[in-house]
């Protein structure tokens, strides 16, 4: 999905979004098969490369608070690497998809599936693969971790950029064509600036999601091998192993500081800067602000440092880069026969891919295992839906209350966004200790962990929706003395619905991913386990049973995609058709 800037979502954007999401269904199957097969093949290949899982991969991590800044820094650098990789991927893949119809036919459904696949499940495969590439050094592990974060970030960014490129304003396109702008200059002067605000917002949302994955991917046990990278995630893992509650508290603090710094010094300034690219001819009433950006702009020193960069940037459009000038591929009508051939080739590849996955899984597993995984999937589905419902019941009224009070929402909104970014897995030990202390049933009491991090998406989207309710409608509701229930039914709920759907969809996706780490948790040697598909995948990963992992991920992907198609998309379509406030 593409995240719409919660502060400035409007019906027009939503319409674009809803339309773009209805990718042809048969391509979903094709893409699902291809992606799954690639994962299987990569693992297969890695296993055959010799001694991929040999050697101890435990790097010493100590729980000395003095080392914590260094660990935090390494975690942060991993995030940086991943976001840069995601940006590079976005610029290339989205551009190709937007310019070539053939590529588009494959790329768009692929992205749609990839963002539904629980990426944490992939860790098994990627760790194996990257460690196979660099069996003797830490680099393989680093790459595996970065790749895990990348897979959590890249898709919505790519989608956002692709959608921007496909919805370029027609009159500006005519100007660019009329003056004969070269493809490269056109990209720098027109396409990239137009896509920037949405891309920046999606990058920020991706970062938010990324913290969870970087924490989860720093300490991974696959079979007998435990792979640890110095960082906050492995610190937490060690603290859990040693039952060191103080160390957990330190990690929570360090994480909070890192996220706040990231937000204040990187993203707020970028959002404030990107505001000038917003495609609106009118000055907006409310501009995103960043004190740091203002300081930077005013500092003479910074200007001095920045001006060479600025000059270099200004020169960018003049670069003669014939190799980068993408010809207008496939947008020109090509023969129908060629199209059909292309679709047939892709379908054949997908069929072969599905067969590969099936053969891989079916070598040791039977239909019985598939049924087990499916029924476990139903349990996890029930868990996810129940928690989304509970979180909605709690946060929608609170969010509306806050959103209708501008003074409050300005203060609460950054906090809610911070909480959404905060990796909930850092907090898991606290909950686990409580469950152990009070001897509660893990099947029920582990469930809230699934939505611990995801619920904030509901809150901050609802706050944004409620603050965007038009003033005249608020006054009308007041003048006619709409009573509480009628006011909710006829005014508030329809008004915030599009925002709520965005929040709930994000929360749902996050919950599925979280189930893989939340359904099995431990504190020292005590292990708590809830029945569900997440636990199935987690246990298979711990046992190094690749086939079960592949089965679990396949089943979970199908569940996520089915839920998106059956619930969230119709809700989006409904919101677009009936609840637009413009």
């Amino acid at each position: 999905m593409v995240f719409l800037s919660a502060e400035r979502m409007n019906g027009h954007l939503l319409a674009r979004f809803a339309r773009a999401r209805f990718a042809p269904n048969r391509y979903d199957l094709i893409a699902l098969a291809l992606i799954g097969a690639a994962a299987v093949l990569v693992t297969h290949g890695a296993q055959q490369m010799g001694q991929p899982l040999a050697g101890p991969h435990i790097l010493p991590v100590s729980l000395d608070p003095a080392r914590l800044p260094e660990y935090a820094l390494r975690t942060t650098l991993r995030m940086f690497a991943a976001i840069l990789a995601s940006l590079a991927f976005t610029l290339v893949v989205a551009t190709v998809a937007a310019k070539s119809r053939k590529a588009e036919l494959v790329i768009v459904p692929m992205l749609d599936i990839l963002q539904s696949v629980p990426v944490l499940g992939f860790l098994t495969f990627t760790v194996t693969f990257f460690m196979g590439l660099f069996p003797t050094s830490e680099l393989g592990l680093e790459l595996a971790s970065i790749f895990a974060v990348f897979t959590a970030q890249a898709w919505n960014m790519t989608f956002s950029f692709y959608q921007s490129l496909r919805t370029l304003p027609g009159d500006l396109d005519e100007v660019a064509r009329q003056f004969g702008l070269s493809p490269w200059r056109r990209f720098i002067r027109f396409e990239l600036p137009f896509a920037t605000p949405a891309l920046v917002w999606n990058t920020m949302m991706s970062m938010s999601a990324g913290w969870f994955f970087v924490v989860a991917s720093e300490a991974i046990t696959v079979g007998k091998t435990t792979a640890t990278l110095p960082g906050i995630g492995s610190w937490i893992a060690l603290a859990i192993e040693r039952r060191d509650f103080a160390a957990v508290a330190w990690a929570v603090g360090a994480m909070a500081v890192v996220i706040v710094l990231y937000d204040q010094f990187l993203f707020r300034p970028i959002v404030a800067w990107a505001d000038k690219f917003r495609f609106e001819q009118t000055a907006s009433q409310e501009q995103p602000r960043s004190w740091f950006f203002d300081v930077l702009r005013r500092t003479r020193l910074f200007r001095r440092i920045a001006s060479p960069f600025g000059r270099a940037l200004a020169r960018l459009p003049r670069l003669a880069l014939p190799s980068l000038s993408l010809p207008r591929l496939g947008r020109v009508r090509t023969g129908r026969w060629f199209d059909r051939l292309w679709v047939a080739a892709v379908t054949a590849a997908a069929g072969w891919a599905a067969w590969t996955i099936f053969r891989y899984i079916a070598t040791t597993l039977t239909i019985h295992d598939a049924l087990t995984a499916t029924s476990l999937g139903l349990i996890t589905l029930a868990r996810v839906l129940a928690l989304i419902a509970i979180a909605s019941a709690v946060w929608v009224p609170i969010g509306v209350w806050i959103g209708l009070r501008p003074a409050w929402s300005q203060r609460i909104q950054p906090v809610a966004q911070f909480l959404a970014a905060f990796p909930a897995n850092v907090l898991f030990p606290v909950a686990v200790v409580a469950i152990i202390a009070w001897r509660r049933d893990p099947n029920i009491w582990l469930s809230p962990l699934i939505a611990l991090g995801a619920q904030w998406y509901i809150l901050f989207n609802v706050v944004a929706g409620a603050s965007a309710l038009p003033g005249d409608l608020k006054e009308a509701a007041g003048v006619f003395h709409l009573r509480s229930w009628q006011r909710w039914r006829d005014f508030i709920l329809p008004g915030i619905f599009p925002y709520y759907v965005t929040g709930a969809l994000t929360a749902s996706g996050g919950s599925w991913n979280a189930s893989i780490v939340a359904e099995v948790v431990s504190w020292g040697h005590t292990r708590l386990e809830a029945t569900g598909l997440g636990a199935f995948i987690a246990k298979a990963t711990a046992a190094g049973d690749y086939r079960r992992v592949a089965l679990g991920i396949s089943v979970m992907s199908v569940f996520v995609i089915a839920l998106n198609r059956a619930l969230w998309r119709p809700m989006y379509a409904y919101a677009e058709k009936h609840l637009r406030l413009d």
Binding site: L172, V175, Q178, L181, K276, F277, R278, E280, Q281, T282
Partner: protein, 441 residues
Amino acid sequence: MTVTLERPAQTDAPLVEVAGLKHVYGKGGGAGLLVLNDVNLTLRAGEIVGLLGRSGSGKSTLLRSIAGLIAPTGGSVRVSDMAGDDQAHGVAMVFQSFALFPWLTVQKNVELGLEARGVPTEQRRKRTLAAIDLIGLDGFENAYPKELSGGMRQRVGLARALVVQPSVLLMDEPFSALDVLTAETLRTDLLDLWSEGRMPIRSILMVTHNIEEAVLMCDRILVFSSNPGRVIAEIKVDLPQPRRRLDPAFRALVDDIYARMTARPAGPPARQADAPGVGLGMALSHVSTNTLSGMIEALAASPNNGAAELGALGRDLNLEADELLPIAETLQLMRFAEIDGRAIRLTPAARRYDAAEVDARKQLFAQHLLAFVPLAAHIRRVLDDRASHQAPARRFRDELEDFMSEAYAEETMDAIVSWGRFAEIFAFHEDDDRFSLDDPA
């Protein structure tokens, strides 16, 4: 379709020559919508030519064909390249929506075309500042478009087009997004620059739907008919500049153009369902019933007392031709008015309508709607015939699309839904896109 660029030997050769131009939108074959048919146009140095027509008459398509932005289906466009030293293309365009890049300053926006042509930085700067100065934008070089008013934005659009020194300036309804006062100032400024020869251009070709604007600015006006777009009249404007709107000759010319734009085959639409343009295949304009009532009331009241000249009516009601004509024609279609050349006259039915109360008005409207709009009668008949008294709207939309493009079908459906609702001859449910007979009451 050929587009050729050449340097002519003599200076009085045509700047732009369009011959037998034809354009079909949509499906590549004959099933698409024919927007332009057999259009010929010759543009010479020293003249301002206006393309006048209602929306959908293909005049913007013609302009874009000349600009090289679209490739027409048939015919040829020749653009001669006369002036300038380093230019690649002899035309530049000004847009209705201004089409400025919001992330570029005024100066950068103006420089865009020069930058694309690889003009060296220093020369680019000089020419840009000169253009900004010429068009009255100095002081605004570093402003962003969002900080400017509409008039200032369109000045940037003009400067951006002029700075590349085109021989022909193409303008697509350049003043229609501006308020009346601003538009007038800009027109005057442009005409002054033109008459003083301070712009590097040799000719202006402008699209407009505003008759007065065309008469005010142009030396020659090509009047387009719609559906498909054709040139139905070419009018030379010999009035001396500066022209005054109150000048009787000016007004006579405006009225004359009104008459030409409403000229249609006389008599009631024939009742043949198969012929496009009449019967079921008649494209309707979505005119609100409030507007129709308002127009009947305005015509019935003094000083009109039932009849008026279209040009004068447009001035009185502050309506432009492409707003006024659909209203007048809808009234004519429903036999509430007759259009005769440049005048419109109410029928006796319209006078009864004017005098009646709401319920009687609705009844009268319903009678006329069912009698004179075949689509309304058709929908009503289908609903009456069915036991459930319901029918999906999709079905009628499909029938319409046999006769017209999707966009026209859409507008026709919108019109029939809103008229049918007002007349209470059927109900429409947007949720599941169906018609029914049941009354919400």
